[in-house]
């Protein structure tokens, strides 16, 4: 059955303010399809964001929504989830939000393994503030604060997440809708902290500064620097060099924090009663 998106969107907030060619709307639709498939009710979802283009999402979705300060979405979300573990907590943020100002919260959220779903809308640039370089801006790429090209190395969101202890890590491009749907759906099904590095193009700034062309031309560019994780063993090291794998990259089982904490409460209660 077709998904009725308006069951999840705040109609009065449409149309959204994202630029023509921006991929953020496609990510939101993938999120909605996953929620719809899982049968989550609007009232049991808290959606938390930081600041930036990605963080327009909470305004558009009809859940309990929280538009926090720049980088702090995971900190607020941690409080919500621990206070009401029965809520489904989805966190969205941009590459600046999660990898720069919120980097510390990101790595500790991965380490704690609280059952929250993070989606990083990664477009390699600060869109809302006018196209400045971000921690995922590609080396040598241009931005308003890197007029001669970006001299630094970018973070790989997924490698960061895996190294920090996230129990589900995946990546997908907005252009590959079925894969984005699958990665987000599986991340929502996962018990524990999940990270999805959702690539989205920014033709307004990144595309224009770097002469990458229109949104569809940008998608073609991105396609050149990825490979599907399923082909990992078929491709040579040479073929994979400098490229990013997409798909479900990492999934393990580890104690989830809320469950652990509940167990602690139960144990202490047992001890108290015994005394």
């Amino acid at each position: 059955m077709a998904v009725n998106y308006f069951n999840y969107l705040r109609k009065e907030k449409m149309p959204h303010i994202w630029c023509a060619g921006c991929g953020h709307g496609m990510i939101v639709k993938s999120i909605i399809r996953a929620i719809d498939k899982l049968g989550w009710k609007n009232d049991e979802i808290a959606l938390v964001s930081g600041i930036g283009c990605s963080s327009r999402t909470p305004g558009y979705l009809d859940f309990h929504t929280l538009h926090t300060t720049h980088g702090r979405a995971l900190a607020f979300a941690t409080g919500i989830k621990l206070a009401k573990p029965n809520l489904k907590v989805i966190v969205v943020g941009g590459d600046g939000d999660m990898m720069a100002i919120g980097g510390n919260h990101f790595i500790h959220a991965c380490r704690r393994n609280i059952d929250m779903k993070l989606i990083v809308y990664n477009n390699n640039i600060y869109g809302m503030t006018g196209g400045q370089a971000s921690p995922t801006t590609l080396t040598d790429a241009k931005a308003t604060t890197a007029p001669y090209g970006f001299l630094e190395e970018p973070f790989d969101v997924c490698n960061m997440a895996i190294a920090s202890g996230a129990t589900f890590v995946g990546r997908a491009l907005d252009l590959d809708v079925p894969l984005m749907d699958r990665v987000i759906l599986e991340s929502f099904k996962h018990k524990g902290f999940s990270v999805v590095d959702a690539w989205s193009q920014c033709p307004t700034y990144f595309g224009r500064f770097n002469k990458w062309g229109s949104a569809s031309e940008m998608m073609e560019r991105y396609k050149q620097i990825i490979y599907n994780i399923r082909q990992k063993d078929q491709l040579s090291e040479e073929e994979k060099k400098g490229k990013y794998p997409v798909g479900i990259l990492h999934q393990i089982e580890r104690n989830e924090f809320c469950e652990r904490y509940q167990k602690l409460r139960d144990t202490l209660k047992g001890k108290e009663e015994a005394e």
């Binding site: 929504t65 900190a75 607020f76 009401k84």
Partner: protein
């Protein structure tokens, strides 16, 4: 049958934890910092026993984020820190004020600026508490002078936060935090507990207010879906850049405190009825001041003490009245002259207002205050 009083010999930090539990606090997010860490230690031990949650966050920015999130989810929350941590929290203290989220921030003051003096008493945050975050916001801060008062004011801090729907600071210092003395632990049934007003009907607009200017607040997941942002917003909770709505919103969060301040303000007066010399002191400095005033009276000098218990808002009328006949006002504080600026604004005309300022990590002694009284 009258129950026996539950008198304990506790430190201020322990009493703060006890008060928080009685007030209904069931979430604590914090980061260790002297001289406040014993509060986090207490909460980590106690909260899981009462169905609550403790979490040690990665820093103070995350701590305040977590407690604001927990509060939005409908659970009373608290953090505890000291100056350097307070500086880091300022960002989201502003968020709490703007989005009107009740929570309690305990600031056990230490010397500054920067790392300053972690182990000595200080009162150097009283202006940071008032003006620390950017923008205009309704600052509420309580300042206890004894361990027993720490217990009571912690409960009061929660009550005010819940009533006004705003973050409240409990400003302690190393002495009120680490000093041990008698405290009467009251049960929940023996104290007034205020819980936030909840909406009664759908549709719910999160920033629609009545006469008291305080909008009701449900918890996430309780059937009232709503949006919260730190941007200027209208009654619906969504961002607005309409001039008149921005003006209205910014003014209302200030006016809700002003309108309800009589329900919040607390102060103590000691021998002020006929005083020639008025000492204005708060926190542990007020105890030195009280001793100095007593000694002065024994010597026939008409001294009195005015102690603001709510630093913000201050009972301005009462202070003006207490200073009415005074020829001299003395303001001792463990900083280089912060609260004196407020005293000057409120009563500052016609007579000298003298500060006693000390930033050496030692408390101000009664004899130092006495000699200024005698001067």
């Amino acid at each position: 049958m009258q129950e026996k009083k539950n008198i304990k010999f506790l430190s201020g930090n322990e009493a703060c934890g006890e008060g928080a539990i009685v007030a209904g606090c069931r979430f604590f997010g914090g980061y260790p910092i002297s001289p406040s860490s014993e509060i986090a230690e207490f909460m980590s031990k106690r909260l899981p026993l009462v169905g609550g949650t403790f979490i040690q966050m990665e820093d103070e920015i995350a701590s305040i984020g977590a407690i604001l999130g927990a509060s939005l989810a409908g659970v009373k929350s608290m953090t505890a820190t000291s100056g350097p941590g307070l500086s880091l929290m300022q960002e989201n203290i502003g968020f709490g004020a703007m989005a009107e989220i009740p929570t309690v921030i305990v600031d056990v003051m230490r010397g500054g600026p920067s790392t300053g003096n972690p182990t000595g008493p200080s009162q150097s945050d009283v202006m940071a508490i008032r003006w620390g975050t950017h923008g205009d916001y309704p600052a509420v801060a309580l300042c206890p002078e004894s361990v027993n008062e720490v217990f009571l004011l912690t409960i009061e801090a929660f009550n005010i936060a819940e009533f006004l729907r705003t973050p409240v600071v409990l400003a302690m210092d190393e002495i009120t935090a680490h000093m041990r003395e008698k405290v009467e632990l009251l049960k929940e049934s023996d104290v007034k507990i205020v819980n936030r007003k909840k909406p009664e009907k759908m549709p719910y607009l999160p920033y629609e207010y009545g006469e008291d200017l305080i909008p009701p607040l449900p918890g996430y997941g309780e059937g009232f879906r709503f949006h919260v942002t730190g941007l200027n917003h209208d009654k619906t909770g969504f961002p607005t850049n309409k001039s008149e709505l921005m003006e209205e919103g910014n003014r209302r969060i200030m006016e809700k405190l002003d309108k309800n301040k009589d329900k919040v303000i607390k102060h103590e007066e000691f021998m002020t009825e006929d005083c020639d010399i008025l000492v204005v002191a708060y926190g542990s400095s007020a105890r030195a001041a009280k001793r100095a005033v007593r000694t002065a009276r024994e010597k026939g000098i008409k001294a009195g003490l005015f102690r603001p218990i709510t630093l913000y808002p201050l009972s301005e009328k009462a202070l003006q009245k207490a200073a009415g006949k005074a020829k001299k006002v003395i303001v001792p504080e463990m900083n280089l002259g912060q609260y004196i600026l407020i005293v000057e604004r409120v009563i500052g005309h016609g007579f000298p207002i003298i500060g006693i300022n000390q930033v050496d990590g030692e408390p101000i002694s009664p004899s130092k205050i006495l000699s200024k009284i005698e001067e």
